[in-house]
Symmetry: C2
Subunit: 409 residues, 2 copies
């Protein structure tokens, strides 16, 4: 099998109408980094006074771009900021040449925008281990700056796709006593064409006026409950990056304690995170794993990830097989505390197993009917404490194998 | 796709001629636990004076049989011992009824052999969460005892197969100053038919005279370097069991310090462990992952397992794709110490990457040629210390998905 071109069956109906965020403009261009006949570079420019926050992969082999962003993200600045992202080449494991590519791109953007280089953030996504032809990108910077437009977020979201089957966007509006705030963001994740990894990139923007430290606190906390709780195949990218900018253009001040803003922001994070899972390579089912009653929240997360990453659980879901025995297995192997005789398992609202055995009320046809749904909830109560966690994943199908094993002939 | 019936392309040419081990007799029978038209129970009887040792799954949801074996294995006894194993039903997650099934089987074997129940070891493998129809097994015990024969090890190896595509046996002879010693063993592992897990069972026998504590020390140590270093899909069974019996029939004394015996024993363990991987569900490639230069042996093992369990590495191998970027990714995500710029990667003897980038001498066609071999070695030097580890795995193919997702209609 060669290239898979159909859109995920779990895709949303369409890309949302992203609101204009005061103080942010977007542009995209076709630089021919790797792909032909499509855009592959996007630039976002944020006005002076914007604050920036970010979270990044913890991979020990992270890309040159990630290292550069991490070095810059914690600084306060009154200057604006730029985010420039290319698809087609991840600039990961490219040694000192990779560092040079990042420096060249930052210099070009700084030169064209008047920003200091310390306020230019870069991401690259695509094939790894190949030298990034950064001159193809730097030669497009002038064109990108000239084309900047507040309404071009959707085009920017398309330019960063690699093997995604749909662009991923989300937005929210928050009404506060001081006025209305807008939040918009887009993401990419999960792929197929080139020998690359399922890399996740996320960019979010708001016109709220918020300090850098408060924005970072919000972003880090919400990220832990959203993007850090999704898994497609347990393989962590070298390039995962989430960047958020707050321009202050609304004139409305918020802090990390502002629950209405935080809740709206978390909704946007969660929406994008779910869209990444729904575009998981080969995905046909969206799975929510809820673990309760664990000895601690950390134990609950360990159990939930063991279930969500188990190839046997994921293939059972693909086969629409209510194979609860594999969930028992995954809990047992996770390493976190569990007791066979206090474990309770539910598919949706259906009680499947309790007291160390199948529930007397459970009928196989009830479980089988639930497994035919495109969205499935697996509920596991460990029966030992108050710890809880939720993670989201997709199934493991022939599509995943085809995408990752079959494309080379 | 329904049932896959072809034998693994990685299977050995045939089942070895297992030597008779003085003091051990085998029998098998068709009890109809789940399968029709094949044997599904095996009994091994060891003469008085035998010592027993074992290692078991650490799953928190382990089966009733495993819990019973663990309670018995550490006791000294001058009585003989029996091992009775059924396939078709794992008796796991069957609550108190499962404990009752183990007790009933042990009582039946004790009654028919004169052994104390504390010397009867049981294993069950197959579907989980269904009550074991143990009366089908106990009703065959008389027949099994009557049929015991020192030469029936191969038949016993077949009776414990579930979704294995070939029976797995290995043996060795050790010449010592005091005389010759024999070692024979068989294993099962990796499957497809029923909604069960890839469960591994291993039984080994020797005519050496060795204390229980020395035998256990040897078994535990060698197991850590062999069976504990294989992975098919990262999913740990609720039933994994390895039991070894030493009858002393040779009259030759050995201890845990006897290197010739230990080396021969390790050879048998390793042979069986590799056969389990070669019968991994859907396997078409046998992969050795050698990690050196890690900060510690534990770190090396963490890296090696991250590579061996990565779905993206495993699908690349399936696709015969020398995708070394995915190995970089797996090292990066493992959580153990690593540095992009000191990492060296080899496929077989071919240097692929070093100094944080692809090696100047590397040619893609050299890597591609190596990946076409049925047996592939991935070498990773972390460049930080002296820690090393080797693990063995197989690729992740459409066969795995078919076996685990497609069999339910």
């Amino acid at each position: 099998m060669a290239k898979i071109t159909s859109v995920s069956p779990l895709a949303p109906e369409g890309f949302p109408e992203l609101p204009v965020i005061g103080g942010v403009r977007f542009a995209s261009a076709a630089a021919g980094v790797r792909y032909a006949g499509r855009t592959d570079v996007m630039l976002a420019l944020l006005d002076p006074g914007s604050t920036m926050a970010g979270v990044f992969t913890r991979s020990a082999t992270r890309s040159a771009n990630v290292l550069d962003c991490q070095a810059k993200i914690g600084a306060d600045s009154e200057a604006g900021a730029a985010i420039i992202v290319n698809s087609g080449n991840s600039n990961a494991f490219t040694g000192k040449a990779g560092d040079g590519s990042v420096a060249a791109i930052c210099a070009a953007v700084a030169g064209a925008t008047g920003l200091p280089e310390t306020r230019v953030f870069t991401s690259s996504t695509g094939v790894i281990g190949e030298r990034l032809p950064h001159d193809r990108i730097t030669s497009k910077v002038g064109e990108l700056v000239a084309a900047l437009d507040p309404g071009k977020g959707a085009e920017a979201a398309r330019a960063i796709m690699t093997t995604d089957t749909f662009p991923k966007g989300a937005c929210a509006t928050v009404s506060l006593p001081g006025g209305a705030l807008k939040i918009a963001g887009f993401a990419k994740g999960s792929g197929m064409i080139a020998p690359d990894m399922a890399t996740m990139l996320v960019y979010l923007f708001t016109d709220a006026r918020i300090s850098r430290t408060d924005l970072q606190a919000l972003v880090s906390g919400i990220n832990a409950r959203t993007f850090n709780c999704i898994t497609v195949d347990s393989d962590t990218s070298t390039s995962d990056t989430l960047l958020m900018g707050a321009t202050g253009a609304s004139g409305v001040d918020v802090t990390a304690e502002d629950t209405a803003f935080a809740e709206a922001l978390e909704g946007v994070f969660l929406d994008l995170a779910h869209q990444v899972v729904k575009d998981g390579e080969g995905a046909t089912k969206f799975v929510t794993v809820n673990v309760t009653g664990a000895a601690s929240d950390a134990d609950a997360r360990t159990h939930a990830l063991a279930i969500a990453n188990s190839p046997l659980v994921k293939t059972a879901v693909a086969g629409e097989d209510p194979n609860w025995g594999r969930i028992v297995m995954a809990v047992g192997k996770s390493g976190a505390a569990a007791d066979r005789d206090t474990l309770t398992i539910r598919f949706g609202d259906v009680l499947v197993a309790e007291n160390g055995w199948v529930a007397p009320s459970y009928r196989e046809e009830d479980g089988a009917a639930l497994m035919k749904e495109p969205e499935i909830t697996i509920g596991v109560d460990i029966g030992l404490g108050e710890g809880k966690a939720t993670v989201w994943t997709c199934d493991l199908t022939h599509g995943y194998i085809s995408i990752n094993a079959d494309y080379r002939s």
